[in-house]
Symmetry: C2
Subunit: 205 residues, 2 copies
Amino acid sequence: MSKKTIILISREYGSGGRIIGQKLAAALNIPFYDREIILRSCQESGYTSNLFEKANETDRHPLSYRLTMYSNAVSFQELSINDQIFLIQSKVIREMAKESCVIIGRLADYILRDDPDIIRLFIQAPIQDRIARVKEEYQDNDSNIEQKIHRIDKNRATYYNYYSNQKWGYMKNYDLVINTSKISIDDSVNMLIHLFNQKQTSNKK
Amino acid sequence: MSKKTIILISREYGSGGRIIGQKLAAALNIPFYDREIILRSCQESGYTSNLFEKANETDRHPLSYRLTMYSNAVSFQELSINDQIFLIQSKVIREMAKESCVIIGRLADYILRDDPDIIRLFIQAPIQDRIARVKEEYQDNDSNIEQKIHRIDKNRATYYNYYSNQKWGYMKNYDLVINTSKISIDDSVNMLIHLFNQKQTSNKK
């Protein structure tokens, strides 16, 4: 693709948003970044993996090294570990977004909000269909999958809302929302491929 | 199209939802019904135009005729004029939905909620872009267009919420939401044509 296109996907757990992102990135021949890759990128940036493993723990852990890439390293160290990770990830995401790519979650839609080349997708599906998908896709036979789905979505919303001061899953924050119970994953992917190829063509005019 | 497809479009005023519906219906070669056409159909169905003219007045006006197509005509007449119109419109919309078509607004998404062939679209755009579109599209130079847009949307929401017990513009009630500031009207139409043609193909398999 000639012009940059940054496709940012937020999704409800079990809606198929991640697989849509993977298939779309493969079809458009652009990188696909999910949360694991972002974490790995952070680690490769010179930070020990400990920092990231501790991200969800309390903030009482002291930082034992300086984050030398920040000029105001001292004040940066004074931030909580979660805040530091958020800042590091923001930096990594901004690097990734210099070229066309697909990014899943990680507040990328908020971090890149001033980039005119982003398009923000939200993938949703009714709870019953998400339960069925999680059972099948992840071979998850947890007796309380519904509760697990709600917990994961709640964690995503809490994290998102805390750092963005926006509301996760609020319709006005997305450019395209798809219900995968009505528009299948394959139909969604084909529709999106068509959209982005066509946008490229109209941008070239 | 071989299998039935009922495309229901809700939209914010000035978002371009109506023109998307018109272009899509023309491209798919299926009927396009907007609120005026639905009202006209109701009138042509044998109801006097008086009923519709009085729709926005208070309910103290007596009905001077019997609506003979309802077996329980007496109790129907006891309803308010607005309620009667809602019931008549519901009937007309259910008739329309026997064949593939595009319907704009009029609670069709709620009225047809049990029809497996419906797909519910919501077309939105940020307020500044809607103001610009209303100025250009409708040659509307009202000094307070923003207030007018909010009033029209509020009226739509009030009417919808009253009869549906659902919330107008609530993301979970839609299968596809499009922001026309990010995905242009032409790109949206082309994307939707591709989607519906492809759904036809996959349904035939």
